[in-house]
């Protein structure tokens, strides 16, 4: 049997879905998008360390209110980076987008941004696997 307190804290948690550049992730979230450090890293590639959220050599200090009991307010952190955050009315589905600077920097770098997409049979194909060939990357649609 759960104690009343356990039940309350259990019910305070919700499942949320994060849509990020890294993919689609199911996480446990509370108070908007407060998630475990492990889930934050899985969905965004940013790791919680004593000095803040870190990716590679870069660390961004968190404001005090962005961190509670080992949880990270991922939406607040994402906005702190200047990146788009949008969610549904029930705050269960969160799109954490790439910022304009990130997209523009990738294009200015000159290398073709990499992606992996499925074919008609669901088999994934990754652009960078075509190094050594010229590639004509084109889009179309039925509509």
């Amino acid at each position: 049997m759960r104690s009343t307190n356990d039940m309350a804290s259990f019910e305070g948690k919700n499942m949320a879905t994060i849509l990020s550049d890294a993919g689609e992730f199911e996480v446990q979230a509370a108070d908007g998008l407060c998630v475990s450090a492990a889930d934050a890293e899985r969905a965004t590639g940013w790791t919680l360390k004593p000095e803040g959220m870190c990716r590679g050599d870069l660390c961004v200090p968190l404001r005090a209110e962005m961190q509670r009991g080992g949880k990270v307010d991922l939406a607040a952190f994402w906005r702190l980076l200047g990146n788009p955050v949008v969610h549904d009315e029930r705050q269960q589905i969160w799109a954490l987008g790439a910022g304009a600077d990130e997209r523009a920097a990738a294009l200015a770098d000159g290398m073709a941004p990499d992606f992996t997409l499925p074919d008609l049979h669901g088999k994934p194909h990754t652009l960078s696997a075509l190094r050594g060939k010229k590639v004509f990357l084109c889009t179309w649609a039925s509509w």
């Binding site: 849509l19 949008v86 549904d88 799109a95 304009a100 990130e102 060939k133 509509w143």
Partner: protein, 221 residues
């Protein structure tokens, strides 16, 4: 699509690949008839979230990016040889003039020939600085539009059409130059709406401005 297979078949698969991406939020089954008809030997991929448009700053279909052997972009996103002749159809019959039809096909061939020249000789590849200058500009509004679009498509796919449509509309409001966002949103509401009266009104509102912005290649301006 059949013309891309023709192009692909005329070049060595050792040194060249076509990656044709269907910007198709309804999913693979919607794209299937076109792909099966073209019988492509090249990569034919399904992009329900329009990730390629987001990464490369594309705003319409068909658009193309040319990538060299080292993975460098040598021509950023631009229209892949389509022209605006369709806008000057006879309003009564809906048909293009013979001259318009011929000019449209000639332009498409000119574009495919340019791709072929590039593959064989390197012609038309921009150097690093010129390629950077030609890249589309990504604004904070465009980045935010991409997030709304992705959420909108997700909500629609999971049965929440009303809320999904609101996010798709917001994406289009934030990025009004993107025909891809508007037309995909319209298509998700109802098949055919992407080319219906509201679409034609939006195209008419362009006035003298092009719907298919010509590629910066000889014979297109």
């Amino acid at each position: 699509m059949p013309v891309w297979q023709q192009l692909f078949g005329s070049l060595s698969a050792e040194k060249f690949m076509i990656v044709a991406v269907a910007e198709e939020s309804r999913g693979a089954e919607t794209a299937r008839p076109w792909i099966e008809a073209a019988q492509p030997k090249y990569w034919s991929l399904i992009d329900t979230e329009h990730r390629v448009a987001d990464l490369y700053g594309m705003v319409n279909v068909p658009q193309a990016v040319w990538i060299d052997e080292a993975g460098h972009i040598v021509r950023p996103a631009e229209n892949a040889g389509s022209t605006d002749h369709w806008r000057r159809r006879d309003p009564a019959t809906g048909t293009m003039s013979a001259a318009g039809q011929a000019a449209r096909l000639a332009a498409r061939q000119r574009y495919l020939d340019a791709v072929k020249d590039w593959v064989l000789t390197g012609k038309y590849a921009l150097d690093g600085a010129a390629a950077r200058r030609a890249q589309p500009r990504i604004t904070p509004e465009i980045a935010l539009a991409a997030a709304h679009f992705r959420l909108g498509v997700w909500l629609r796919r999971h049965g929440n059409a009303a809320e999904g449509d609101a996010h798709l509309a917001e994406a289009s409001r934030l990025h009004p130059e993107s025909w891809t966002i508007w037309r995909q949103g319209a298509d998700l509401v109802e098949v055919g709406k992407a080319g219906g009266p509201e679409f034609r009104a939006r195209v008419d509102a362009l006035g003298e401005r092009p719907y298919y912005i010509p590629p910066a290649l000889p014979g297109f301006r």
